[in-house]
């Protein structure tokens, strides 16, 4: 599968499913679709890091598609309460990194499980 194919059938679904999970209130379960994609595309040149990246972008898109400025301000407020510097940056960065890790690890588990069984 070429790069466009991976984008259409692996990374884009990863992004969309992440958005759907985020909007459904179960963002932390994004490792499940990632795992499934990993299983489906195991043995091919699927890059788990790219899958994780698209999933994390999907999570952030779920924030910016509705009341973006308000929610970025909320992140800043949260940072202020907890005492984290740089306004909203670190809060959103933590969310991004965690989302990336969940999807990346899900994809890794999916793809390596099939390889391992075979």
């Amino acid at each position: 599968m070429n790069r466009s194919g991976f984008f259409l059938f692996a990374y884009l679904p990863e992004l969309i499913l992440s958005m759907i999970f985020a909007l459904s209130g179960v963002w932390y379960l994004i490792f499940i679709p990632a795992l499934m994609i990993g299983v489906i595309f195991a043995g091919r040149e699927l890059k788990a890091s790219l899958a994780g990246l698209f999933a994390a972008i999907g999570i952030l898109l779920s924030i910016v598609i509705y009341q973006p400025s308000y929610r970025i301000s909320e992140a800043s407020l949260l940072a202020g309460v907890i005492g984290i510097p740089l306004g909203p940056v670190i809060v959103l960065l933590i969310l991004f990194i965690l989302s990336f890790l969940l999807a990346f690890l899900g994809t890794e588990i999916g793809s390596t499980s099939r390889n391992w069984k075979s």
């Binding site: 909007l23 963002w27 779920s62 949260l78």
Partner: protein, 847 residues
Amino acid sequence: MSFTGSKKRFIVSIVSLVIVLVMISVSFAGIPSLYKLLNPSSGAIAPGTSPYSPGVTETTVTINGEISSITVNSQADGFIGIASSNTRGVYYEQGYLEAQYRLEEMTILELTSQGNLSSVVGPSALSMDIFYRELMDNQIAQEELNNLSKTGSTYLDLQYFVDGINAYISNLNPSQYPILFKLLGFSPHPWTVKDILEVQQLFLWENSAGGLDPIYFNYALEKMPENVIRAFYPAYPAGIQNPIVPYSVNPSVYNEHGDISNLSLYTPSWNNTSSPSILTESSSINVDGLSLSQLLTSMRYPYQDFGSNDWAVNGPLTNNQSALVANDPHLTTSVPSIWMGFQLVAPDQNVVGVVFPGFPGVILGHNARVGWGATNGQVQETYFYAEKTSPTNPYLYYSNGSWMHFAVYNETIKVAGSSSVLLSVMRADNGVVVENGNSPIAMDWTGLSPSYELTFFLHIDRTNSVLQFQQNASEYFRVAIQNWAVADISGNIGIFPYGEYPIVERGNPRGILPGTGEYNWAGFIPISQEPYLYNPARGFVFSANQITVSSNYPYYIGWDYESGYRADEIHLLLNSTRSFNTAKMESVQLTIHDYTTNIFLPELLDAMTQSHYGNSTVYQDLSKWNGNMDINSTAATIYYYWIQNYVSGVFTPYMKYYNITTADGLGNVSFFLGSDDYYHGPLIEDLVNWTLNHPDIQWFSNPITGAHGTSSTAMMAALNQTISNLNSRYGQISSTWEWGNIHKRYLSSLFGINSFNTPEIPAAGDGNTINAAYGTLSDFGPSWRMVANMSHAYTGVGIYPGGISENPLSIYYDNNFEPWNDGIYYRLIPVTAPAQFLYMYPGGANP
């Protein structure tokens, strides 16, 4: 990829995923798990709820099967008008809207009053919870609830209000919770009428003057000889006094024999170190109470009200045209504000003003016929007793010749992130034990029995005259005595510091009294002898937390008042102004002239001349100054620091000499050089008296070094210290010394979160100006300003700092801050309001 490599990656990935999942699922340090907190659809960055939006809306609600049509007029200035054809609709909607815009604030109040704050915020609130459990809010609120008729108007109004709160809460989903709830992992629960009564108890405590003062003052009584106590702490202040109810204006309340002649106000009635026969037994009572020092340092008073102004004018001051009233209660200026503004319109009611979130009705404001304001009475409402407990049974205390059992209330305080704390609250017939070390100390407080101030508030919202207001005050307002200044549509005015004034028949109530029974309250001052004024010939009544009565009042009612300089300024302005209208009332309310400059400044300039400072820049600056604490005045800065240095310079050596320590309250209370000592309490009044009348008195001399001093030497020492400090901090005198560069206001977060504070802005005034701004970085001052001309009350004006919303991201969070600091007033009933909001006024329609 090798089999082994894939297996290793698989296992490492699974382990890593489990670690990440565990990591985001675990709560830490009271903060909810990251998967909850960062959840884009329900966490702290979830979409917001409907923001506050000015405009008129119509709604219909069904309450107990009956339909109420409601009109809501949401204004940008922090006020919401509610009009309905029935009372239940009004209070229901008020409860709903208070919850909608102030749920965090209401919840914090509720938890505080119940002694449950630590169940949400953790051990940091434990000492406060213990204290509020000891105040028995829960038990007293239950008694109040039991006593309320379930078909009476108070209960029904409270129930409608609670129904409205709960209607809002029940429609909330977690994604709509305020940010603090999300951070604390807290879910709101339905309110009850009892919850409102508990919040009433909190309000009463925080507005009860005296507090723990007798415990502190007992140290002075123990450590200082009687002649020093008489000189420093006279039972009637030595400074210039304009009492609220002077003998010359209403001698009728000075008729009784009273109790004050039986009291010994300059010697201790109980001595902590010299009463081994009574209280040296080590108590083994199972109370997880605080030590005295812990108790004294742990108290926080978010609603502390110890400085306010109100006055009313009529007759000769208004050309017999009308009666006007003004009020500005000084409280913490916070965000969210401690107030919410409402106009409540129902049949026979059209009231507008402010209320504490969690209460129904309006507390301060006006209706179509009567306007009112309040200042704290600052009379003593807490009395302390050293209990004598049995050597063999610590649950027994000695009272009036026999051993009595303490009533014991076992409490469990849940603490977030820690184990629960068990507490046994003990109550004697003279109070609740608030300190249970070697010598149990009980505090008696007028709020320890049921009272119905909420009924008072609900009644005055519909009152028709000053006399009817007076009747309600005498009947229902018992605790947290306020100086109620009132004016009505018929041109009457009055002031009513009504409430329960305890009578003790012996001993020294300024300190700790023996708890053996003879010193207990013997009753209360009869209502006929309580101070008040009604339509005095001079045409005004006023209060600014100054002393209530003249020195010949026959009852002891307290001694630690505001020093009286705001009152002196108001007295001066009311005496010198005629043809009062709204604008002139506003002008008085915004005055930033410090009355103490009338007293001290000429003396200071004289001392400077004598000391050959007459040509100095500082002298030139001070000599040209008018005493206004303007933001562009450098003299204001010099004077502000000078007066504080004058007070501390004279009295600090004596505090050291008599070994008054921080643990005794040094620096914490005004009479021990607290930060408020230049506007509150006796020390500044002593200096006024000595400076004007006894400049060579011995107290200007240093008891430690023996150096002789006079008022002049003390004033110059204070000035030198002031200039030296200002030079080192701001350089030579220049625009950097201007008051506005040094003195600022801000609105502090009610929840103590610094990032929620507003920016600081330059501010005029100080602690002695009518437009008060205490401290150099002030979050304490006029929390509400109102002026109403009762001849046409619909033109009444007012403002409170902050805004309607507690959401820091709302533009209505702090939108009134700068207008308030700039002295702007808003018309409380806007001219654009729908006709039903002018009900009972010309052009109004039925709600």
